[in-house]
């Protein structure tokens, strides 16, 4: 361990210190200080990460990677976490143990960052455990029946899939004699050990990324948790897991047929989730299924790993777009309500909010010129480039289904409200904080859509 290694993981260290700092602030009974420490830590870490753009290095004898994926995961996930912290502040203000909540967010984010930068199987395990435990605590935070149930589900699923993953990784360790992901290239593509390990890793990370059929926890956990936690889980831990999947699979020999398995999962995930979303009446559940479906889109980039130069850029651009639009949509939900009928007439009574929600949802569908369009366009390009044209076609067809899903929210917004709905506390500090969050998300959604070209240039 050298000083240079520590410099390379400076952002992670800052996040860790922020988590500890928030805990100390909570001990001092100052949730406000905890909030400030957390925000400062997250943003400082993000700023520090800018210095690493374009760097290709490893720390701690090649167990920890500083590469395009890991640097950009910090640039996307740290600001996204900061937005979720703001949402949480608006939602959970004056609640018990507010400071611990921020601390937990920092810890969970740290887990997601470890996942995205893993160069060693043990970092993979560490990241999964860290982010799962933090997430369970976050979901259970409100201490009511629904939240507890969601947390229970998350925990049981997490422990089972985590156990399967560790079990499978031992096969890989046995086959290669090393825990380095770099050494996975030595795997014999036709051996049973390779297949078992592969399936186990897909189960473990697929659970975190809520791929079908490991998604069952997601709708219940999102519904039970505070809206800010739902937004957080749907963005930060999910993107961390997907980046980790990319880190692992790009070292596994192509001949072991993992692209076909991932392609199958992708089709299953997006189709199943959009169909299920079509019949939801709870907006949180609807968005939960929508975010499951979006995981299926992420897999398009994973499939193209090693075959298309577009794979990594598309993954990163879509992650950034997805983070902005999904957090925005959840923020609007936080100010409006959880059931579909509360959206009646919102577009008339609060025009700007209505427009913002429409932008978020259309961006999730992938309508130009919004961020989601750029992301999906690159994903389709990557899949077609990698000769998975059929997969891209299914994904495009699913985008049509997606439109039907999201229009279920949009259409009532522009119908006449049955009863005059009083605007929900428009001027309280909590509401204005949430408004700020969706305004930022709106700007980002538009900016990523319009500035895709320079962004791609930075990704090189």
């Amino acid at each position: 361990m050298t000083a240079h290694d520590l410099y390379l993981i400076l952002p992670e260290i800052i996040v860790l210190l922020a988590a500890v700092g928030a805990l100390i602030a909570e001990m001092l009974r100052s949730p406000r200080l905890a909030l400030l420490v957390t925000l400062a830590g997250l943003l400082l870490a993000a700023t520090q990460s800018f210095a690493f753009i374009g760097m290709h290095a490893t720390a701690f004898s090649a167990t920890y990677r500083i590469d395009t994926l890991s640097v950009w995961s910090k640039l996307v996930l740290l600001p996204a976490s900061a937005l979720c912290v703001l949402l949480a502040r608006a939602e959970l203000r004056h609640s018990d143990r507010e400071g611990t909540f921020y601390s937990l967010i920092s810890f969970t984010t740290l887990g997601a960052l470890l996942l995205a930068a893993a160069g060693d199987m043990l970092f993979l395990v560490l990241g999964v455990l860290l982010s799962t435990l933090g997430a369970v605590a976050l979901v259970a935070y409100p201490r009511n029946d629904a939240a507890t149930e969601g947390a229970m589900k998350l925990f049981v699923f997490g422990s089972v899939s985590g156990a399967i993953m560790i079990f499978g990784l031992t096969y890989w360790f046995g086959a290669t004699g090393s825990t380095f992901l770099n050494d996975l290239a030595r795997l014999d593509p036709t051996s049973l050990a390779t297949a078992v390990g592969l399936v186990a890793v897909i189960v473990g990370l697929g659970y975190k990324a809520s791929l079908v059929p490991f998604h069952f926890w997601a709708p219940d956990a999102y519904q039970g948790a505070p809206v800010s936690v739902a937004a957080y889980l749907s963005v930060v831990t999910k993107i961390g897991a997907i980046f980790a999947l990319a880190q692992v699979l790009r070292d596994v020999p192509m001949a072991s047929a993992w692209p076909a398995i991932i392609a199958g999962l992708s089709i299953l995930t997006m189709t199943y989730a959009y169909l299920a979303a079509l019949v939801q009446n709870d907006v949180i559940r609807l968005l939960a299924y929508s975010s499951i479906a979006q995981s299926g889109y992420f897999l398009l980039a994973i499939v193209a790993l090693g075959r298309s130069p577009l794979a990594l850029p598309s993954l990163i651009v879509f992650a950034a777009a997805y983070a902005a639009m999904n957090i925005g949509a959840f923020a609007v939900v936080a100010t409006t309500g959880r059931t579909l009928h509360t959206y009646r007439g919102v577009g008339r009574s609060a025009p700007l909010k209505g427009v913002a929600m429409v932008v978020f949802l259309l961006s999730l569908v992938g309508i130009p010129p919004l961020a989601g369009f750029v992301g999906k366009f690159l994903l389709f390009g990557a899949a077609i480039d990698a000769h998975f044209t059929a997969l891209a076609v299914v994904a495009i067809i699913n985008s049509v289904l997606a439109l039907a899903v999201y229009l279920r929210i949009v259409v009532p917004m522009y119908q006449r409200a049955e009863t005059a709905v009083a605007p929900t506390s428009g001027s309280s500090p909590a509401a204005s904080l949430t408004t700020a969050v969706w305004l930022i998300a709106l700007l980002l959604t538009l900016a990523i859509g319009l500035a895709a070209q320079p962004l791609l240039g930075r990704l090189g």
Partner: protein, 605 residues
């Protein structure tokens, strides 16, 4: 200050304001049409002093849209706005108790705007647009009471007849524009070449449709289901006049062959529809047939090469026919019907209105010193002086005779019989409107001399024309008053009442095929709709299946849990007991499938 724009824009703006505000419709409508009248009068003054106006708007590249005000068009604009204003005044009373007044006045204002556009149009594109707009808005006006049985069908019939004839206009315009590479009406009508004959004949077809000339006259009588002010406006200065106006504008360039065709169509129409009017059993339908007959006379004048005579008759007829219709509207309100059998003696109930009606009827028959005398005299003079006088003059005289006969018959029926006055609402406004148009009908003749001089065309009036025209009118009046219609017709009476239809008439050629195609389209669309619906249902079924597979069972279990167990411990136990196992089982199945797939790959490839 350009005077052309407000002529069109004022009624158009009135229509828009009425539709937006939905109140005070009468005030805005009247203001719009009066503004149009004032500016057209101003325009006439300006044109009299020698200046000509035009508005050029950007249209297609190289083909600008033109609005032109020449002497002829300025006169026509004044006629349209003037008659329109009086009809509007009348309509305020007529529609007083109608729930849909707003729609009525908006449509009527829009209609006037469209008609003024047609009159002032200086290029074919604008002309065509206006032509279509008046066709469309008259469809809406005829079908105004669309809830009543049969009204929708009549409106559709009127629309289909005129639309079919419009094809002639389209082809003709296409020919003319292609020939001259210009859309300005003045340019395309300059010069003489073979296409002009063809174009002229095609334009004649379009004019026949709009002016209800034989054999396309049937729709006009059926259009009587609209409100009476609509009939008055359509028949006098607007919709029906469009055909005649078209002919008057293009006649200077028509070759003799085409001109003869125009004259013959007009002559035949004036006799045939005159006979129909004489046999008609309904006052408004009689007036409608008479309209066709009078426009026939105008076409005779056009065919004889004297468009000025046609113009004079058009102006006189506009005032006369609107008086007759407005009077008929009062009678209709009084007896709640327009059939002659129910109108016996109604003239004595409303002596003042009836006296106006008499004046107008005598004017139409051509009795001096009323306006109809001068205009009819001009038409007959033109027919006598024409190249084919042996064809045109007898037809024109027969038309004149028939005019006298059917008007005298109507007057007799309205005067003879029992009186029992019904209460008529809004009589004051209606009376004002009628007084205005009757006054015009009586005295307009005095202006004809000046008009003739100003438009710079001489009328071939002779003593022979005056004597023969007047005697034909007097004989007609005497016949109509003294001899009952059935005896005049003999065995032809029933046929005449049916409008001289032969094998279902033109209906079989136009209306039925169109309706057949329409039904075919409707059936196709229905099956398409059903198909789309079926696909939608399939999607929903799949979605529900997905929900059953994932949500339904679990949801219900959670619901049961939430109610069944209050304590957390019990809850956790219950959760571990059934639910998560169930889901984990699905996850494990998924895992197993993946593994199986990979192993299959390993083993077999």
């Amino acid at each position: 200050m350009n005077l052309i724009a407000p002529i069109i824009l004022a009624p158009l703006a009135a229509a828009a304001v009425i539709l937006l505000l939905r109140r005070a419709s009468t005030v805005f409508a009247l203001a719009g049409v009066v503004a149009s009248l004032l500016s057209s009068a101003g325009l006439l003054m300006a044109v009299m002093h020698g200046s000509s106006y035009q508005v050029i708007m950007p249209g297609l590249p190289g083909m600008p849209l033109l609005l032109l005000a020449g002497r002829l068009t300025a006169v026509l604009a004044v006629v349209v706005a003037g008659i329109g204003a009086l009809v509007f005044v009348y309509a305020i009373g007529y529609m007083k108790e109608d729930a849909e007044k707003v729609r009525f006045f908006a449509l009527l204002s829009f209609f006037v705007a469209a008609m003024q556009t047609l009159v002032l149009a200086g290029d074919w594109l604008l002309f065509l647009s206006a032509w279509e707009l008046i066709g469309f808005s008259s469809y809406l006006l005829i079908g105004f009471w669309f809830q009543r049985p049969g009204v929708g069908a009549s409106a559709s019939r009127a629309f289909l007849y005129t639309r079919t004839a419009d094809l002639g206009l389209y082809v003709a315009v296409f020919l003319l524009v292609a020939q001259h590479a210009d859309t300005a009406i003045a340019t395309t009508l300059a010069g003489n070449n073979p296409t002009t004959v063809l174009a002229g004949l095609l334009l004649l077809i379009a004019a026949m449709g709009k002016s209800a000339q034989t054999p396309l006259h049937d729709w006009l009588q059926r259009a009587m289901v609209g409100p009476t002010p609509v009939s008055a406006l359509l028949h006098s200065a607007t919709l029906v006049a469009a055909g005649a106006i078209l002919m008057i504008r293009v006649v200077p360039v028509l070759p003799p062959e085409a001109r003869l065709a125009v004259g013959l169509v007009g002559g035949v129409t004036t006799v045939v529809t005159g006979l129909i009017a004489l046999a008609e059993a309904d006052l408004k339908r009689m007036l409608a047939a008479s309209t066709s007959s009078q426009y026939g006379l105008m076409l005779v004048a056009v065919g004889a090469g004297v468009p000025l005579a046609a113009l004079l008759h058009l102006i006189a007829h506009a005032a006369i026919k609107s008086s007759l219709f407005l009077g008929a509207g009062v009678f209709q309100h009084s007896r709640e019907d327009t059939a002659f059998t129910n109108l016996r003696g109604v003239g004595r109930d409303h002596a003042w209105v009836f006296s106006g009606f008499v004046v107008a009827a005598l004017a139409l028959a051509g009795i001096p010193p009323l306006s109809g005398f001068f205009s009819k005299d001009a038409v007959i003079g033109a027919a006598l002086a024409a190249e084919h006088a042996y064809l045109l003059a007898p037809l024109a005289l027969a038309g004149t005779l028939l005019t006298g006969a059917y008007m005298a018959r109507a007057l007799r029926i309205l005067w003879r019989g029992d009186t029992h006055a019904g209460h008529v609402v809004g009589l004051r406004w209606m009376g004002a409107g009628i007084a205005g148009v009757v006054l015009l009908a009586a005295v307009l003749g005095a202006t004809f001399g000046a008009l003739e001089e100003w438009l710079g065309a001489a009328l071939p009036t002779t003593i022979l024309a005056q004597v023969s025209g007047l005697s034909a009118a007097l004989i007609g009046l005497a016949l109509g008053w003294l001899v009952p219609a059935p005896r005049l017709f003999g065995p032809l009476y029933r046929w005449a009442q049916q409008g001289f239809t032969i094998a279902g008439g033109i209906d079989a050629l136009i209306v039925r095929p169109v309706l057949f195609i329409a039904r075919l389209c409707a059936r196709f669309e229905l099956s398409l709709y059903t198909g789309v619906l079926a696909i939608g249902r399939l999607g929903m079924t799949i979605a529900r299946a997905a929900r059953c597979g994932d949500e339904q069972g679990i949801d219900r279990a959670i619901f049961a849990l939430a109610h069944g167990s209050r304590r957390l411990g019990a809850r956790v136990a219950a959760l571990q007991d059934g639910l998560v196992h169930h889901e984990l089982a699905l996850a494990v199945i998924g895992t197993a499938l993946m593994l199986a797939a990979l192993l299959a790959g390993v083993l077999y490839f």
